[in-house]
């Protein structure tokens, strides 16, 4: 019953999204007519004339309004659908295939709810739900200044939404119900003839890897990031179609892209933390295709974040920004596809469903149409000013974009290479982390270097002299820091280069802060704290951005630490025996096997940690075996300090065998800086992205001024 209701509402939602998209497009016949004119056919031109006659202001307004309301309707509809699914999940309705696949009786209620995004069908619904929420938010804003954008923003959002809702409704429907037929148990929407309903006793249970708190909020954050990038894309397409190709669309979506970036970045970091805590391989990032799929839109998104500033300040790079946001959008769809379908990560999990080809066709169509639009508007997207100096900030931002794109190329190639190799040579290959690290290492170093000098260079013009004057002091300090590290910590060349760059960026950024504050102190006779505060408040995007830069450097410390200095050892210990690594002595004390709260079998070891004579505490690595899904998880015992993490895995223990237990022990230096950095990142990005009181008016005024200023100089 409830499953049928859910199915019904899902179908209605699909119709509503299609209606909204069609109406939105039809409300602006002039826009369509203009596009038609560009086609070489005469008939298209005549048809365009007819279309233009259709447009009357009233009709346009009422149709756009109708489309807007239809779009607003999708959110409550999808909310009801989702609530119905959650109801089924929470109440053990195992006759529903999706519920059977992702829950079991022993799971606590909160996990049954989060199982919503634990399987393919549910996560597509979740994606659609978030998308409709964001689309609704956008249409709720005041539109009076940007009437012409509205229909096309609705159009793009609804096409995207229709695609995902359609996918959920027709191909990956979470509301299929089991029926016992002559040939066996099958899942159907409606009861087939000669069949009886069938309810399994218990479900298969959620994949234990997804039962971790990190996994509960990692997918939603990642999806939030994915979904919010649809909005800037929608505005970009609206700008292309309407021909209003100034930087209005960028100003309108600036905060959207900042929030999208916030969610995406934090989603990625949380994914790393989850891997560190759950996957039991001592690391946080393995260059797995699924991870890279989420990383690629981040790369283009970050490049976009920087290059839009050039367009705002200097009126340049309009084509490039369009291409970047288009790329980001399609990588978001591609990422959703890869993370969900498992087409690359594992052949085994991938059933032959229609969703793969459909995703691909959708990506191909959107990519081709968007690129065609950019080419069509090419002339109107011309730069308004010239590039003056290779050391100007805009030039440095361009190099930054180049590096981000290069990393994208490496990642994309790494993901796609096994596919092509299989195609041409017939044999499968593996692209391991070594490839990515080798190829991306220098690129990341380049990015860090740019992060250091770009804030010091001025828009329009900088010379070696002005730059040198600004940075000699921090550079000398960074060299001193590096020498200190050389003497006390490491002689590893890569590490020294890395640490030098980290010090370089942090010191320059702090120096910038200090000079800004000092200038304010002089002119406004403020004390240092007020000056610092006001400086940040006056230009939150800039100084929030600096905090983000510093946070990235803290993360870089963690990454350098674990990548270059990780130590590991493995061995079988008997009770009372010890193993030493990285200054720690680990003594195996005890082990026990018992049944955990949700029916899992827990094998938990106790190890005492010493440094020399000093007792530092006990660690409890364990293996959880889940009977319902017949999978096990290896949960490490961790002791985290800013210097290093001691990370112990229980590899193997047999109660019957008297051979002791096998442990794998890692020392992960500096990795905590990574997590600390991510918290600072959150602060920085919130400072930059927090809505102004009246973002609209300020943005317009600022835009006009900036343009006047740049026209003047």
């Amino acid at each position: 019953m409830i499953a049928n209701l859910g199915l019904g509402i899902l179908l209605v939602t699909f119709i509503v999204t299609v209606y909204s998209a069609v109406t939105a497009a039809a409300s602006n016949p002039k826009g369509l007519a203009r596009l038609l004119r560009s086609l070489p056919s005469l008939r298209a031109k005549r048809f365009a004339d007819e279309l233009e006659k259709l447009e009357t202001p009233q009709r346009a307004a009422s149709m756009a309004e109708s489309a807007r309301r239809a779009m607003l309707l999708t959110f409550p509809l999808l909310t009801i659908t989702s609530l119905l699914l959650i109801y089924l999940l929470v109440n053990d309705h195992y006759e529903v295939q999706f519920v059977y696949e992702v829950t079991s009786r022993s799971m606590p209620t909160y996990l049954k709810i989060t199982a919503w995004w634990g399987g393919q069908a549910g996560s597509l619904l979740f994606w659609s739900w978030l998308m409709s929420a964001f689309a609704s938010l956008v249409t709720l804003r005041k539109w009076d200044r940007d009437r012409e954008f509205l229909p096309w923003v609705i159009f793009v959002s609804c096409v995207t939404l229709a695609f995902f809702v359609g996918m959920t409704a027709f191909f990956e429907n979470p509301f299929r119900v089991f029926y016992q037929t002559e040939t066996g148990v099958e899942a159907h929407f409606f009861q087939p003839a000669n069949s009886t309903p069938f309810t399994p006793e218990d479900g298969r249970g959620l994949n234990p890897l997804l039962r971790h708190p990190g996994m509960i909020i990692h997918p939603p954050l990642l999806y939030l990031g994915f979904v919010s990038y649809v909005i800037p894309f929608a505005f970009a397409i609206a700008a292309l179609i309407t021909g209003r190709t100034d930087d209005r669309w960028i100003r309108l979506t600036r905060r959207w892209s900042l929030w999208a970036w916030l969610f995406l970045t934090f989603g990625l970091v949380l994914g790393g933390r989850w891997a560190y805590d759950v996957l039991g391989w001592g690391g946080y990032w393995g260059w797995d295709p699924v991870e890279i799929a989420a990383f690629m839109p981040w790369l283009t998104g970050t490049a976009f974040l920087h290059s839009v500033m050039i367009q705002e300040k200097r009126g340049m790079l309009k084509h490039w920004n369009m291409l970047l946001i288009i790329l980001t959008y399609d990588l978001v769809i591609f990422g959703t596809f890869l993370t969900r379908s498992g087409v690359l990560s594992s052949v085994h999990a991938f059933a032959q469903s229609a969703i793969g080809p459909l995703f691909f066709i959708y990506i191909a169509i959107t990519l081709i149409v968007s690129v065609a639009l950019v080419i069509y508007r090419w002339g109107e997207l011309k730069s308004e000013t010239e590039m003056n100096s290779l050391l100007s900030r805009e030039a440095l931002f361009l190099f930054n974009n180049l590096l981000f794109m290069s990393i994208l190329v490496v990642c994309f190639w790494g993901v796609i290479y096994p596919l092509t190799s299989e195609l041409f040579t017939g044999s499968k290959v593996t692209v391991g982390p070594a490839f990515y690290e080798r190829a991306n290492g220098p690129l990341f170093a380049g990015l860090m270097f740019l992060m250091g000098i770009a804030p010091l260079s001025a828009w329009g013009h900088s010379t070696v002299k002005t730059l040198g004057r600004a940075m000699w002091l921090p550079t000398v300090a960074a060299v001193l820091v590096t020498i200190a590290i050389f003497v006390t910590y490491t002689h590893n060349v890569y590490a020294l280069i890395g640490f030098f760059l980290v010090a370089f960026v942090i010191l320059i950024t702090l120096y910038e802060y200090w000079r800004g504050s000092r200038a304010r102190m002089k002119i406004h006779s403020e004390n240092i704290f007020t000056a610092f505060w006001n400086l940040t408040a006056r230009d939150r995007r800039r100084y929030g951005g600096y905090i983000v830069h510093i946070s990235m450097m803290l993360m870089a410390i963690g990454i350098l630490g674990i990548e270059l200095f990780q130590m590991e050892t493995q061995g079988t210990l008997e009770v009372g025996q010890q193993k030493s690594i990285g200054g720690y002595d680990v003594v195996y004390k005890d082990i026990a096997r018992f049944t955990g709260p949700d029916g899992r079998e827990v094998t938990r070891a106790v190890l005492s940690i010493y440094r020399g004579q000093e007792y530092l505490g006990d660690l409890h690595p364990r293996i959880d075996y889940y009977w319902d899904s017949q999978q096990s998880m290896t949960i490490p015992g961790q002791r985290a300090t800013m210097k290093d993490d001691l990370y112990i895995l229980l590899v193997n223990w047999e109660p019957a065998a008297a051979t002791g237990a096998t442990f794998k022990i890692y020392v992960n230096p500096l990795v905590n800086w990574l997590w600390m950095g991510s918290l600072l990142f959150l602060i920085g990005i919130i400072i930059a992205a927090w809505p102004d009181k009246d973002p609209e008016r300020i943005a317009v005024r600022a835009g006009r001024r900036a343009r006047q200023a740049s026209a003047a100089d």
Binding site: L344, H348, G356, F360, E380, T420, L423, S427
Partner: protein
């Protein structure tokens, strides 16, 4: 606002061509790659290409340590992919062996065990444990499994006397009758 009307300068044709060719190439590459990954196993009706299989000593076929698949024309071939680490394989191991003992005397049927991603030592323990006597060998460099595009183990392929694939069993057999049924169809 400097709303200068920019000169409508279109993209040069050659650049447009380059862009579209590049885009089409990229999409085609991804499409081909994905579609290959999406393909199921080799389908019934296809003629199986030749491949060679080297047997574990003690598990040879008629005393030969290595055979070419084409040598088996005129016989019904039951090709079973398995591995010693594979639990579901154990379910069907005894059934396969029983079917083999039934059909071996006819001389018209050949059973081939193809050991997928396994070490020989473990494979021998497994073969001994289930008393398997039909020919078995390792899937060297996973060439055979890649040709058949197997999705996992166990999978069993029934090839008729003309070398045409007739039936694919994915997952373990539930009983020996299932195996008999397929072989009898091909012997007719």
């Amino acid at each position: 606002m400097t709303e200068t009307t920019p000169s409508r300068r279109a993209v040069p044709l050659w650049i447009q061509i380059v862009i579209w060719v590049f885009l089409a190439g990229l999409l085609a590459l991804v499409a081909l790659g994905l579609s290959r990954r999406q393909q199921g196993t080799v389908q019934p009706g296809e003629v199986i290409d030749d491949f060679s299989l080297t047997f574990y000593s003690g598990y040879e076929l008629d005393g030969k340590t290595e055979i070419k698949f084409s040598d088996l024309r005129g016989k019904v071939v039951v090709l079973n992919f398995w591995a010693s680490w594979c639990k579901p394989c154990e379910q069907e191991a005894a059934d396969l062996q029983q079917a083999w003992t039934e059909y071996a005397p006819t001389g018209e049927v050949v059973f081939l065990g193809v050991d997928y991603v396994d070490t020989e030592a473990d494979a021998r323990v497994y073969l001994k444990k289930f008393g398997i006597t039909y020919a078995n060998g390792a899937d060297l460099a996973t060439r055979i499994s890649q040709y058949f595009r197997i999705k996992g183990v166990p999978e069993t392929y029934f090839v008729d006397k003309e070398g045409v694939l007739r039936y694919v069993q994915i997952g373990p057999f539930s009983d020996v009758d299932q195996i008999r049924e397929q072989i009898d169809l091909l012997l007719k």
